[in-house]
């Protein structure tokens, strides 16, 4: 009996330490601020990376409450992938709390994927708090525009390669494979949205400017008078009037915004309110990058019929 225990003990002592080491050493721990970036990092990293997201797809990406679990995730991170353009400045508090030298500002593990992105809506005048939740560096909601995927994934490849240079070729290969699939999907989306070129839509929050521009639609007005502040009846009346005059048929609503109000406004204006995924995972069926854009394109086409 005693010998059996000794042998078992010796076996465990030898095998034991090898087990966790075998699984942990292989994967790069990446934390992304938003689920879009998590999805893209997973495409590029493949099975070399283990990726988590700080925000959930249904949340409002401007204001995420920092919780201890976020700091714990960041503490273990080798890389932090962020959207930049001040969308995820809320993450800075968690980063400081996590006290992880690899991902502080300026460290090689900090990947800001907005480098090289052609930013839209850069304000030309001075901005301040009285204008609501305006984005001073330009509209940061570029991540779910498929045309931006090449730039974003290139930044992610560079970031991953800084940490693990020996795997750069694999990351590049993964990226090319993903972009090829994306190109196929892009052809499908362009076909579907072709008849809607030139159409004007109303949006709740100016979340959609990149994807609208990409496919030739445009934003006529926002339901929000100033972002982040509930709309006044005067502003809503103006929007309803504009929708009737220009025959605008669709109001696009983010999953985290007030669908009930948007539906009321749509009814008054003879239009339809449709919820699109503002991030991957924002609505049911939008659980991957291509899946989310698929959902959005289909929903938009259905609503404009």
């Amino acid at each position: 009996m005693r010998r059996a225990i000794l042998i078992l003990g010796a076996a465990l002592a030898v095998i034991g330490p090898m087990l966790p080491a075998a699984s942990a050493a292989d994967k790069i721990h990446v934390v992304a601020t938003i689920p879009d970036l998590k999805a893209l990092t997973e495409e590029v990293g493949g099975n070399l990376a283990e990726v988590e997201s700080l925000a959930r797809g249904t949340q409002n990406a401007h204001e995420i409450e920092i919780r201890p679990s976020l700091m714990l995730k960041l503490r273990r991170a080798d890389l932090l992938v962020e959207n930049g353009l001040e969308l995820d400045s809320w993450a800075e508090v968690a980063v400081q709390g996590a006290n992880n030298p690899r991902i502080v500002r300026g460290a090689p593990g900090r990947v800001d994927v907005s480098h090289g992105v052609p930013v839209l809506d850069v304000p030309s005048t001075r901005v301040d708090r009285s204008m609501g939740d305006v984005h001073p560096l330009g509209n940061p909601h570029y991540s779910l525009d498929p045309g931006m995927a090449p730039i974003i994934t290139q930044n992610i490849v560079d970031g991953l390669a800084r940490f693990a240079p020996e795997h750069r070729a694999t990351f590049e290969k993964n990226r090319q494979a993903f972009l090829a699939r994306l190109d196929e999907a892009m052809a499908r989306w362009t076909r579907a949205l072709e008849p809607l070129k030139g159409a004007r839509v109303v949006v709740y929050h100016p979340q959609w400017i990149y994807i609208l521009t990409r496919f030739g639609l445009s934003q006529a007005a926002t339901l929000e008078d100033r972002p982040g502040i509930p709309a006044s009846p005067g502003h809503l009346t103006k929007v309803i009037r504009q929708m009737k005059e220009e025959r605008i048929k669709v109001i696009i609503v983010e999953p985290w915004n007030d669908l009930k109000l948007a539906t009321r406004v749509a009814e008054e204006a003879g239009a339809k309110a449709v919820v699109l995924a503002s991030m991957v995972g924002g609505v049911k069926g939008a659980d991957s990058y291509i899946g989310a854009i698929d959902h959005n394109v289909n929903a938009l086409v259905m609503a404009m019929k």
């Binding site: 949340q59 009846p233 985290w256």
Partner: protein, 282 residues
């Protein structure tokens, strides 16, 4: 432009009138019982119930959401009825205060797990008056009219227990049962109102018109009529201000209540300076 504005605002305005009708009446009771915070606590519990339903995937206008809000409120009403003692203790206010704070915090926690939680928490606070549609106004009006009828039929025990509970005990009324019926019907009203107007506005509609009635009126009928008139006046002022000054509607009406109460009190002081009472004399 004015026509468009009215088209948007008429249904919310009608809803304000419906809210005034039932809430001013219930407010007279609440002030007589001197448990002012009970309504804000029950409103917050109703909001917590609705938020919990939200977490389970039931949007605000589903029957599941209403059922959960109502169950939570009735449970709260039960607790409040049971904690009333024959001698008026300060401790019930303490219980009510704790219930309010905890349910508000719990709603934040629940909302954190839910899809668009932050928006939900804000809607529960200031409501969503602008999104009200005409069929909703009709449904709520019918519900509140039924409750009003119930209270009219049982007006003797309800008013006796609110104004003179000792006499009620002496006369043999089952005070705890009537308390539960009162808080229960109160809970039904509050659960419906909170999802439309939010906790702050429900509180305002409950307390401020009744305060005006008690300040200026002597008999119950007078208090009610003055309360209804005051509530209607403030609704008009609040909605007009929101349209003219381009402000969010729910919060503007709450502030209008505050402002008009100050105006009323000043006028009251000017007319009858000797008896500057603000508390009800039942």
């Amino acid at each position: 432009m004015l026509g468009d504005l009215l088209a948007l605002l008429w249904a919310p305005f009608l809803m304000c009138l419906v809210l005034t009708g039932i809430h001013a009446y219930l407010g007279v009771h609440v002030l007589a019982r001197e448990v002012v915070f009970v309504d804000i606590a029950l409103a917050q519990i109703a909001a917590l119930g609705a938020t919990a339903a939200f977490l389970l995937g039931h949007e605000t206008d589903t029957w599941e959401s209403y059922a959960m809000g109502l169950s939570a409120t009735l449970l709260g009403a039960l607790v409040l009825a049971l904690t009333r003692s024959r001698r008026r203790h300060v401790s019930q206010e303490a219980v009510i205060g704790v219930v309010y704070a905890v349910s508000a915090a719990a709603a934040v926690l629940v909302a954190d797990r839910a899809p668009h939680g932050a928006e939900q928490v804000r809607t529960m606070l200031v409501g969503n008056l602008l999104a009200v549609r005409p069929p909703e106004v009709a449904k709520v009006a019918i519900l509140y009219a039924s409750i009003g009828l119930f209270h009219w039929l049982c007006r003797r025990p309800f008013f006796l227990i609110s104004t003179n509970p000792d006499a009620a005990y002496r006369d043999g009324w089952r005070v705890r049962l009537w308390d539960f019926l009162f808080y229960g019907s109160f809970g039904v009203v509050v659960t419906s109102s909170v999802r439309i107007a939010g906790v702050l506005l429900v509180f305002s509609y409950l307390i401020v018109p009744a305060l005006a009635g008690i300040l200026l009126g002597r008999t119950v009928a007078q208090k009610l009529i003055i309360g209804w008139a005051f509530g209607t006046l403030v609704s008009v002022i609040g909605m007009a201000a929101s349209a003219v000054f381009d402000l969010p509607t729910g919060a503007t009406v709450v502030c209008a209540f505050g402002l008009m109460l100050i105006v009323l009190w000043v006028a009251f002081q000017a007319v009858r300076p000797a008896s500057g009472r603000l508390t009800p004399l039942a």
